[in-house]
Amino acid sequence: MDILNALVALLNFVVIPATSYGAQLALGALGVTLIYGILRFSNFAHGDTMAFGTGMVILFTWWFQSMGIHFGPLPTALLALPFGIALTAGLVLATDKAVYQFYRKQKAAPVILVIVSMGVMFVMNGITRFIIGVDEIRFADGGRFLVNANDFKKSTGLAEGLAFKSTQALTIVAAVIVVALLFWFLNKTRTGKSMRAYSDNEDLALLSGINPERVVKVTWIIAAGLATIAGTLYGLDKSFKAFNYFQLLLPIFASAIVGGLGSPIGAIAGGFLIAFSEVGFTYAWKKVATYVLPESLAPDGLAQLLSTDYKFAVSFAILIVVLLFKPTGLFKGKSV
């Protein structure tokens, strides 16, 4: 019984939250890694692209709600998602045309593009705040729980409850579908193959007649889609606040680098590694430990390795370790 209780507590407080957070990070990191692979710079504006996309989705959600359109037990935001993606894709394509294209033609050094992306980040941040403000917004509706803690306790007779929020389930399912679609696209379609070719060897791809501007455009659209989906899922799961998306930049970059910049599989693995370490290091293990360990060994304190305020320190520490020992990442990224 104690072992079961410990398992349920572990599932409830560590495995489920970390999995959904990991899925969100993985989607974010996929966007970063794609841009890196094709356009060859670290896009600092990705966090704010996520914020902008989510903001658009929220606007559409409100509009739908005001018209009385709902999506049954699922959040209305899912209906709004395609519109949000379209607007975000429009914005990043316009940004590419107005800003990045010039530097691409000039063959500017990657570090210049990084600085430029920082400028874009602030303009986007300004636009998002301008449109939707800086306050915390909760826009999840529909069913709250897939498994309710109290019902679980009653039906199993365990002391520990298990809560599985519908947004968490939705995150995981959506992430699986999106990733499957993305890999199908990259591996099976002509456009996807040309993207991979361009990423592997630009000159060779150009020689074989691949249109670079088209590859770049498709990449931006996919990145905008991934950013909007990741941002919306994160916003549904927690809440929307423009500044939080800026702060997500560090764990997202850490995920992409840990997996190996430019490697889609790596981005997913990195996202889950970072998420599980963050949650694992900042979770107070006392509850689980008291179930498993004999009474004499039970911890006095919270058995929390780090306070939750330092969750970013965890992703940073992993990043540093990877940079020190394996700078190309776990899955052989593009460059050192």
């Binding site: 400028g119 941040n125 403000g133 970059f253 970013f312 990043l319």
Partner: protein, 431 residues
């Protein structure tokens, strides 16, 4: 310095003097003082970016770390905490932490293969628990003492001017750690690593109450200049103020600000002199050669990574110095106010608008952008009021007026993008 550059500086001076004549000398001097500090920050960042092409996104962290120095150096020690043993135990814990990391580094160099992984894991995990076992009770003792006023270790009670170079040293230490790991890899990695260290330094300063009271802030940090109240109570000062025809309260605030301005100007001039000397020395030429063509410089026998590390540390130390100066100017440390927009991004705009690679350009950018930063908000509000003046009162009008506050972000981002695109060499280009 040619005529154009002198005119540019004269224009900025005119802006500040105009502000003083039309608004108040108090705000004009306030802008001047922060402008001086901004110029110093821009000099530091210009070293990293302009001389060497290093992209530092964690300036805010180095500024905050420098700001810690006045608290640790100049505030009086909280003796009760030290006599209770908490202080010494805490220092012991920190020393232990350093020793554990040093041991791990030594093992990493000595051992090989599986043995290395095992030894490192044992040292780091065991060390972590050992550290927490000594550290946690000590923190409890320190933070339990009069949490409303202290809850920290206090400082050494030395003159606050000593804290300025110490602030630089603290920032240099952090820069060394980051530079050691991230330099020599792709340029993006330094950007991401500095972004991380910036956020972590701020998180530590917000949460570790024993260090500098966290978000409870440290106030009344000693000042290097006299207090306004003392001036107002001195009869000779009041008489002199009366002879100028001002009341003692205004006169005292202006005198204090002028004294700060004098102090900061001395430091700024010294730094400009030193950086001009350095930039025009063989060392400066080597740096620019490395920036322009790393491969060629390496072929000439220059150790690129070492030189990068050197200049990264130097630039960050200057940021730390400026951080200590900011805290001294405000006489308070408020970790909550360190946001990346204000202390990282704005400095970048200063350097790029002013002219990267040119010390005078960075200084000019520091003054000009700081002035604009202060003025854009009231201008934005005014503009919004003007735009919305014809509208009927309603949701849209109030939304537009509220959002004027975010105009700063947008404007500064646009300024950066436009300058990078159309005038990438800045106002005073590199020679």
């Amino acid at each position: 310095m040619n005529t154009r550059n002198i005119l540019l500086f004269a224009f900025v001076a005119f802006l500040i003097i105009f502000e003083g004549m039309t608004a108040s000398w108090n705000t004009a001097l306030g802008i001047l003082n922060m402008g001086l500090i901004s110029a110093i920050l821009a000099l530091g960042v210009n070293m990293q970016w302009g001389y060497a092409g290093l992209f530092n996104v964690g300036i805010v962290g180095f500024v905050a770390l420098g700001g810690l120095a006045p608290v640790l150096i100049a505030t009086p020690p909280v003796t009760e905490v030290w006599t209770a043993g908490g202080g010494f135990r805490l220092i012991l814990a920190l020393l232990m932490g350093v020793a554990i990391i040093a041991l791990a580094i030594a093992l990493n160099h000595r051992l090989k293969g599986r043995q290395r992984v095992l030894a490192l894991l044992v040292t780091l995990i065991g060390g972590f628990f050992l550290f927490r076992a000594v550290f946690d009770p000590a923190v409890e003792v320190v933070e339990a003492f009069k949490p409303a006023t202290y809850s920290n270790l206090g400082g050494l009670g030395l003159p606050v001017l000593v804290a300025w170079p110490v602030g630089g040293l603290l920032a240099a230490g952090a820069a060394w750690v980051i530079g050691k790991t991230a330099l020599g890899l792709r340029s993006d990695y330094l950007a991401i690593a500095t972004l991380g260290i910036g956020e972590i330094i701020i998180a530590v300063m917000k949460n570790e109450d024993w260090l500098a009271r966290g978000v409870k802030n440290v106030i009344s940090i000693p000042r290097p200049v006299p207090y306004e109240v003392d001036l107002q109570n001195s009869t000779s000062f009041v008489e002199r103020a009366a002879s100028f025809g001002t009341d003692p309260v205004t006169a005292s605030t202006i005198v204090v600000k002028l004294l700060y301005a004098a102090l900061f100007t001395v430091i700024l001039l010294a730094l400009i002199w030193a950086s001009e000397k350095a930039l025009n020395s063989p060392w400066g030429r080597m740096m620019r050669a490395i920036r322009d063509n790393e491969v060629a410089a390496e072929a000439m026998g220059k150790d690129v990574t070492r030189r990068h590390l050197q200049i990264f540390i130097l630039g960050s130390a200057i940021c730390g110095l400026a951080g200590a100066m900011i805290v001294t100017l405000d006489s308070q440390l408020t970790p909550g106010t360190y946001n990346p927009l204000r202390f990282t991004f704005l400095i970048w705009v200063m350097v790029i608008v002013g002219g990267s690679g040119n010390n005078w350009g960075a200084v000019l950018g520091g003054f000009l952008i700081w002035f604009l930063w202060i003025k854009v908000e009231p201008w934005g509000n005014g503009l919004m009021d003007f735009i919305t003046s014809g509208m009927a009162d309603g949701v849209i009008k109030s939304h537009l007026q509220d959002s004027a506050a975010h105009m700063r972000l947008l404007t500064m981002g646009l300024v950066l993008l436009l300058v990078l695109r159309f005038s990438p060499r800045g106002l005073i280009p590199e020679r």
